[in-house]
């Protein structure tokens, strides 16, 4: 939660609990870099943090256009931070288009820091401004601070041998310096990062460092801000931390599972936004026994992963919505041959090509049912960028021990967002036993099952004496031979269903945020909405409302205690970034009158939207 900069005198630094900042500008303005540096520094001084980059759909849209604006929002604080924040307290706008597309999100009374040099008539026109907003009354609801950053940067770099074009590139660091001053952050981390990054180009390094410092001192000297602020350290658990995006954490979780199972990891993937970074991350980890195939398409990608699992690796395939739609048939094969496989769907705005760079949760039912015939597959959903690590690890664990494809759902918001990750001790992660069959006994039975998990043996080609055949035709119980026997078919369909259902036995009790024993309203969520929902529930409870929430990691099978929990609350609300998908599953499963709270805008829920929805449930749609 954010507290506004007040109008106290500048020399006096105020304490805030949390702050939301948004940087915005052209793709070429270094917005992402600026945001990342601020994030890192804030993390290093001990704040809890959550970030969200917001890329334009175009690769490099023409400068100055509205559709070319790139954004980076972050929230940092001294309490637990679960979302990048609803509305910025501070907006740094590098050009008119960035101002135009972002100003409405800025909290009324918030501060907007503007590079006045970019407010040329050409840029104003491109942004669709009829008059210069710096000169009319249109920004009167906010504190506007205009600085000619371009000029001041050039000034600072008078001595630098760089060309003017290159000097101008540094202006984002001028802005960063100013914001560092505003929030009393040290420069040292960014300085050492710059010196490291441009080690081979000392002129560039020097210019950047100089500009950063100049921005900082300019803010101090020119008394630009009415006050400075400090955000004390959060009381986070001790340990070693680093910032991770959801895609990075996913890759790390998968590699960890493979290592803990002593398996090589094989990724078959085809690039697609916003999942590609998982492929990129894993392509760089050959040393850890990671082989990657950039396949010709999504079907080849999953098929190769199935082949790799068959040959004894941990087979994985990563994609996003349209790609998952293509994998349905092969996913059915993986389910039928009962081999481990992790399928990651980084959900994006659909349907069809939809809004490819935006976030959404509308692939849940496709994940449940998008295959011919009865083909149940476990579904696991991650709830925050860093949580992708644990979710990916669990997905691989279930896949290996149950010999089944597992669907891991993340989304664009988690994939690109980042937050601090408490680095685990690798030694303390559980080992996973792939338990390859090495000896088939008298007569090999490739479809004999473990009586508890109902999983069948994993048999690696190359194992002497265990030659056998598998395939997508229905197979006889135990022997796995092709079977057209009617009763056998029913039995096998039931066994495969039960195998997935039994995973529920090992799920931990469901955590309830709020009152455990029931109450007026329960919110049930899943996936990337965790931060918003949990924050909203905390806020609502703080305001005395009897609201609780449950956030599902396992959607198939559902946790065994969920039915009981749902029945304890008078009303059930299911917030989802779709038109109602989990809510249908819950209604069918438990016959509870759960209702949906739905948003399909390519954007996460804001905390305020959820609070409004809570109020509407509790007090009617007033």
């Amino acid at each position: 939660m954010s507290t506004p900069p007040s109008s106290a005198p500048p020399e006096h630094s105020e304490q805030l609990e949390s702050v939301v900042i948004r940087f915005a500008g052209d793709s070429g303005d270094g917005v992402q870099l600026t945001g990342t540096q601020f994030t890192k520094t804030s993390a290093l001084v001990g704040n809890d943090i959550s970030t969200l980059p917001d890329f334009p759909a175009e690769i490099r849209a023409p400068a100055g256009t509205l559709f070319g604006v790139s954004g980076f929002q972050l929230q940092f604080g001294s309490t637990e931070i679960r979302t990048p924040g609803d509305r910025p307290d501070v907006l740094v706008a590098f050009n008119p288009a960035a101002l135009k597309t972002n100003i409405d999100r800025l909290r009324k009374g918030g501060l907007v820091l503007i590079n006045s040099a970019s407010f040329t008539s050409r840029n104003l026109e491109k942004a669709g401004y009829e008059s210069n907003p710096l000169e009319d009354e249109s920004l009167s609801a906010w504190q506007v601070i205009t600085v000619d950053m371009t000029k001041l940067t050039r000034e600072a770099l008078k001595e630098s041998p760089l060309r003017t074009k290159d000097k101008d590139r540094a202006k984002n660091l001028f802005a960063l310096g100013m914001v560092y001053f505003l929030y009393s952050r040290p420069l040292e981390h960014t300085i050492s990062w710059l010196e490291n990054k441009f080690a081979k180009k000392p002129d560039v390094a020097a210019a950047n460092v100089k500009t950063l410092k100049t921005g900082y001192y300019y803010a101090e000297t020119a008394e630009v801000f009415r006050s400075t602020y400090s955000v004390p350290e959060a009381t986070v658990a001790p340990g070693l931390y680093r910032n991770v995006t959801g895609n990075q954490a996913t890759a790390l979780g998968l590699v960890s599972a493979a290592r803990k199972a002593d398996l090589d990891l094989f990724l078959g993937s085809y690039p697609i936004t916003p999942a590609s970074d998982i492929l990129h991350e894993l392509s760089n980890l050959r040393a850890h026994g990671v082989k990657t195939l950039q396949a010709e398409d999504e079907i080849a990608a999953i098929c190769a992963a199935i082949g790799a699992s068959y040959a004894g690796s941990l087979g994985i395939t990563s994609t996003s919505g349209p790609g998952l739609a293509l994998k349905g048939e092969a996913l059915g094969l993986a389910m039928m041959v009962e081999l481990p496989l992790v399928v990651i769907n980084v959900q994006r705005g659909g349907p069809s090509t939809g809004l490819p760079t935006k976030t959404e949760q509308a692939d849940l039912l496709m994940s449940m049912y998008g295959r011919n015939g009865e083909s149940p597959i476990p579904i696991i959903a991650a709830r925050s960028p860093a949580d992708c690590f644990a979710a990916a690890f669990e997905a691989a664990q279930v896949a290996i021990s149950t010999r089944t494809p597992v669907l891991l759902l993340t989304d664009g918001y988690l994939a690109n967002g980042s937050e601090p990750w408490a680095i685990p001790q690798a030694d303390e992660l559980p080992n996973i036993d792939p338990d390859f069959l090495l000896d088939g006994g008298e007569v090999l039975q490739p479809y004999a099952r473990d009586p508890e998990s109902l999983s069948r043996p994993w048999i690696k080609p190359g194992t002497v004496g265990l030659e056998h055949r598998v395939g997508g035709l229905e197979k006889a119980d135990l022997t796995g031979n092709v079977s057209y026997d009617p009763a056998n078919h029913h039995r096998m369909c039931s066994l495969r269903r039960d195998k997935v259902a039994r995973i529920a036995d090992s799920l931990p009790p469901t955590t309830i945020t709020g009152s455990q024993t029931g109450g007026d309203l329960l919110l049930v969520g899943w996936g990337g909405t965790y931060g918003s929902i949990t924050t909203a529930v905390h806020k609502a409870r703080a305001a005395g409302k009897d609201v609780s929430s449950v956030h599902l990691r396992n959607i198939n099978p559902l946790p065994p205690d969920l039915g009981d929990i749902l029945r304890r609350y008078d009303k059930i609300l299911v917030p989802e970034l779709n038109l109602g998908q989990l809510v249908r599953i819950l209604r069918a499963e438990y016959l509870v009158d759960a209702r949906g709270c739905n948003k399909v805008q390519g954007l996460p829920f804001t905390v305020n939207e959820l609070i409004a929805a809570i109020d509407a449930e509790l007090y009617g749609e007033a």
């Binding site: 685990p424 598998v470 395939g471």
Partner: protein
């Protein structure tokens, strides 16, 4: 396989316990025998053999091989086999499918596997028909073919599988037939010896839906006139009495009668190792585009290029050079900018 053990397998060791379910008289039976015989001689332990197939009559093949086998889904066998081979390059991986499986729905996976030069042996059973689905034309059937789905005659020109494979950059391309036991087995062994993707088109008779499609080319009595065998380093001679030859007149191929005017010396000497696949393409297309010429069979191309799976292993090994194996997982976690909270 790394230590070259002496393995004694006979054909029957490769016969599985499953009842063979092809139609009586189907060419697939003969091919099955050839494959079993050839594989028995390869000095590959049975447990290292994997047969991967798609869907179709041909694709039932793995069930009948007493090796590891995977009957996958329609068209996807080259992709799935790619994963098998990458995961474990020690395995000897065989891919089997029909002309529908590999040239229609699976065409893309086939050409990409060939492009990558992954060490698979890919056997296309070409019967110019969809057998399992009971008789529709396939991409190799050709114009005018009347089938269930082309009752008025097909208007789809055919692919030439050899030309397509060469166009995709295949390093090993051959053609043989179901009824040519020795020829077929010899080619299977060469394909196995080849490091990289090997593509073999096997002309196969579907007795039910396309009987006699290759009777002329494959039949004992006619084949010598109807086909020409490509033999590396040898001139292109054919005919029952070896009375014909093929020569290159500029960049034009011509059939000539040997005797007074022309002798074997004048003929085109086949070279399967040319880097430029143009000659192979010209020969491949002659049966198709120049109606009067015989159908070329045998080895069209065999060149060396690094295999895909070995290039991958090289990357893994060189990434592990410093650590002599997988580095500690913790080192991966602790990469990048970290900070400590006490």
């Amino acid at each position: 396989m790394s230590e070259q053990p002496i393995i004694s397998l006979s054909r029957s060791d490769l016969v599985s316990d499953q009842e063979v379910r092809w139609c009586p008289g189907c060419g697939d039976y003969a091919i099955l025998k050839h494959v079993q015989s050839a594989l028995a001689d390869l000095q590959v332990p049975r447990e290292n053999m994997v047969v991967v197939s798609g869907i179709g009559c041909a694709a039932r093949f793995p069930y009948y091989m007493n090796t590891y086998g995977f009957h996958t889904i329609h068209g996807r066998s080259p992709a799935l086999a790619t994963g098998v081979k990458m995961a474990n390059p020690e395995l000897s991986v065989w891919v089997v499918g029909g002309d529908g499986d590999m040239m229609s729905i699976g065409g893309n996976h086939l050409i990409h596997a060939l492009r990558r030069n992954i060490d698979l042996t890919i056997l296309l059973f070409n019967n110019e028909i969809y057998g399992l689905t009971k008789g529709q034309f396939s991409p190799t059937s050709g114009l005018g073919k009347r089938t269930k789905s082309s009752p008025l005659g097909s208007i789809d020109p055919a692919f030439d599988p050899v030309s397509l494979a060469l166009g995709a950059g295949a390093t090993f391309v051959g053609r043989t037939a179901d009824m040519w036991g020795k020829h077929c087995q010899a080619m299977l062994k060469e394909a196995h010896a080849h490091k990289g993707a090997a593509f073999i088109e096997i002309l196969q008779n579907c007795i039910i839906f396309n009987d006699g499609a290759f009777a002329h080319e494959v039949g004992k009595k006619t084949k010598d006139d109807a086909t020409v065998e490509l033999i590396h380093g040898e001139p292109l001679i054919f005919g029952k009495e070896s009375q014909f030859g093929i020569l290159a007149d500029g960049l034009e191929l011509k059939v000539v009668e040997l005797g007074e005017e022309f002798s074997a010396e004048d003929l085109l000497v086949y070279d399967k190792t040319k880097l430029n696949p143009g000659m192979a393409q010209m020969i491949a297309a002659m049966g198709v585009s120049d109606g009067s010429l015989p159908l070329p069979v045998g080895m069209f191309r065999q060149v060396q290029r690094p295999t895909y799976e070995h290039s991958m292993e090289d990357q893994v090994r060189s990434a592990q050079q410093d650590t002599g194996g997988k580095p500690p997982l913790q080192s991966l976690f602790n990469q990048g900018d970290t900070w400590t909270v006490d």
